[in-house]
Symmetry: C2
Subunit: 463 residues, 2 copies
Amino acid sequence: MQKIAGSFLQRTAPSIRACAKRPITQPVRRCIPQHPPRFYAVAANAPLAEKLRVNGDRLWDDIHYTAQYSLPSPGGITRLCASAEDKLARDWFKDQVMALGADYKVNATGSQFALFPGEDLSIPPIAMGSHLDSVGTGGKFDGPLGVLGALEVIRSLKEQGIKTRAPIVLINWTNEEGARFWPFLGSSIVYAGQSTVEEAHASLTHDGSGVRMGDELKKIGYVGDGPNTFEEFPISAHFEIHVEQADSLEKAGKPIGWFTGWQGMTWYSVSLKGDDGHANTYPMYGRRDALVGAAKMIVELEQLAYDRNGYTTMTNIRSGPWGACNIQSDVRMAFCLMNKDGTLLETMGSDIEAKVKGIAAMHGLEMSMTRDVHLPPGDFWPEATDCIIRACGTEGMAAITGTGHDSTMTTRLVPTGMVVARAKGGWSHSPKEWTDKDDCTKSALALGRAVLNFDDYMKTKAA
Amino acid sequence: MQKIAGSFLQRTAPSIRACAKRPITQPVRRCIPQHPPRFYAVAANAPLAEKLRVNGDRLWDDIHYTAQYSLPSPGGITRLCASAEDKLARDWFKDQVMALGADYKVNATGSQFALFPGEDLSIPPIAMGSHLDSVGTGGKFDGPLGVLGALEVIRSLKEQGIKTRAPIVLINWTNEEGARFWPFLGSSIVYAGQSTVEEAHASLTHDGSGVRMGDELKKIGYVGDGPNTFEEFPISAHFEIHVEQADSLEKAGKPIGWFTGWQGMTWYSVSLKGDDGHANTYPMYGRRDALVGAAKMIVELEQLAYDRNGYTTMTNIRSGPWGACNIQSDVRMAFCLMNKDGTLLETMGSDIEAKVKGIAAMHGLEMSMTRDVHLPPGDFWPEATDCIIRACGTEGMAAITGTGHDSTMTTRLVPTGMVVARAKGGWSHSPKEWTDKDDCTKSALALGRAVLNFDDYMKTKAA
């Protein structure tokens, strides 16, 4: 892969770093007024963007064809990071981009880069990226639409003879979901300087089995020598399509849109330890039952969503000793808190910590609670989002994403924007996840046009 | 092993049967007035019983020597049924009884039978039995004291030239604990006609992995052709030592005693199913979060112990999908209810079922709840218990066991009694489990004397 020197960006990449155990606390640039997005005037697309068309049939076929790379999951996809199914999807992706003449590399954390030249090779490429991995109960769109939509853009540009000034790179980021290995955004977090290759390789599965992401990537042959960080391989911008995972577009009757920003999210781990004892015979008085404590904590977690108008989810619980004979003495849990308001998000964290401490004290349990990942709310870059707004035209509307994406990492570095596709009923991380063919097509077209708009914007800026 | 024909018992073995999914609902014979046991006159031991002594040093050494057959567990034992450690303990047991000249057999569910002749081979043997398997967080006494105490009795009888009229059989019962494979009492349940060899072989581990007890027993070489049922191999009586697993003896300052009976116990499985969905983005309203429902159920289960003055324990929870990305849609739990009052035990069952139904309805969850095993409260046989009372003399007192034992199965068939040894702090199923050496010695002596008293009782009855 050619190393493209220099960058139009004068902005220094953040020096803060965070691994699984260190919170990502640095606030990111906030630049788009969140309310009301309608104040933005919808300017015209750049001429090349206006010219672009995409092939919706081909994209739809790709979405359903690649869904075969999955464990059995009727209606959905089970393609956990670095699994045999993930390897098949990656191999397919490689074949497609090689057929299009890509300069192709895999980096140390398994991300696939497919670079296509522009007229001026001195400019860092404009990136289109997302992920092909899924959660255990994934749908067909969360991730794949981003990668396959971008692939469709590359094919259409080539077919229609549309040449960009900047090179373009298509990226399939590794372990976006964090469904198998934690933390999530497992490769883009390294690219953004928030973690290291070593830390990403040491990412563990949620089941306590000690399986590491680095070893599993190696097993499927996806540890390469491609670029790992922004410093090694700078990009000019990052664009990504994603299904909304909520229902605001559906309710408004809009097929596509853009994410102005994201709500704040924090992930915690909690451990409660009590005493082993006989389930039938040990007196109720004097028990140190960690599972009873955990249950009270989960009930408090639900209450917290009422109290602070946020979202709360307990996403993992493991309890032992297993069986039918023992008071449960060892419970480990993972949960997340979400709030659009960063101050309220912090309050939610201190609220639940106080509750867990109280529950632990009342039940004589030892407790520990760690904040594993913290993403304060933020907004994407106006330079990038404006290109999407223009690409959507009258069909688009603004939304806020409720979760993190690879774009939440790249936005720490370069202009980043996200194209949103309408989702049925807000379902995601579920086989019920669905986006109509026409909406998929429109989102891919908006992605391609946004990239061309950004290419034009850079050209104008450079002039 | 010689087949001993005939039995002094005219009582027909129960025809009822129960497997893992069928409750054991048949009430058993209740024959000892539970309160107050002091109304029993303490008669003298039979002459041979009075003569018996046991070697407490040897027993104590055996307890600590065999504790090596364990996964690492400081202070305790981890010797799950049909594990490599279980095999080592079984092999050791075989060597000991063979050295004593036993007629030795292993049956199809892995139980080890060591038969020693009496003066009259036409009489079904008097059994001493317990188990060498432990729970995951086991102590050194729950199970081993019963088997090793009985082994000490056999050795002492032999050394002291004490001959019984009836043969004696020492039994190491398989999977008493149910810690790895459910249901518990995995071999004595078959012996008592409450299940079949096939059902016992099909017993599954608690982790949903599908591992079967029969396959695991085969792997360690413990599927034999010995007798599986009472019909194949009748016994005259069954005696067992067990640590109290509660603190009534300790509080009363008594080293040993007898269980008059057992409290009622019921084991349930519950499954709650909701919807998969994104942990961060899916609106709180409309979620069908199975783990939130499960947590509320566990809180209700604790309340139930207050309401009905019983014991309640949630002993197992598994929740999925795993990870940090998903609303939990699938939760499986196992719990047990305990009450000394059989009617209140039934009420507890219907109480919690109503609560779970309500919680499921309020959270839009599908629920199923099955009663896997049900043991109504009952009492051991006066013929057997009287022999223990006489053996304990002034050092003993009555207690009630809070859980099931292999004796809870044999008592459905023949006179059965349990010798109790004082336990520190009521700890059991914990490395904290402890019984002093002197109390172990006294319990073994009481076991031996009880067997000799029963042998004398049968002789008198036959005369």
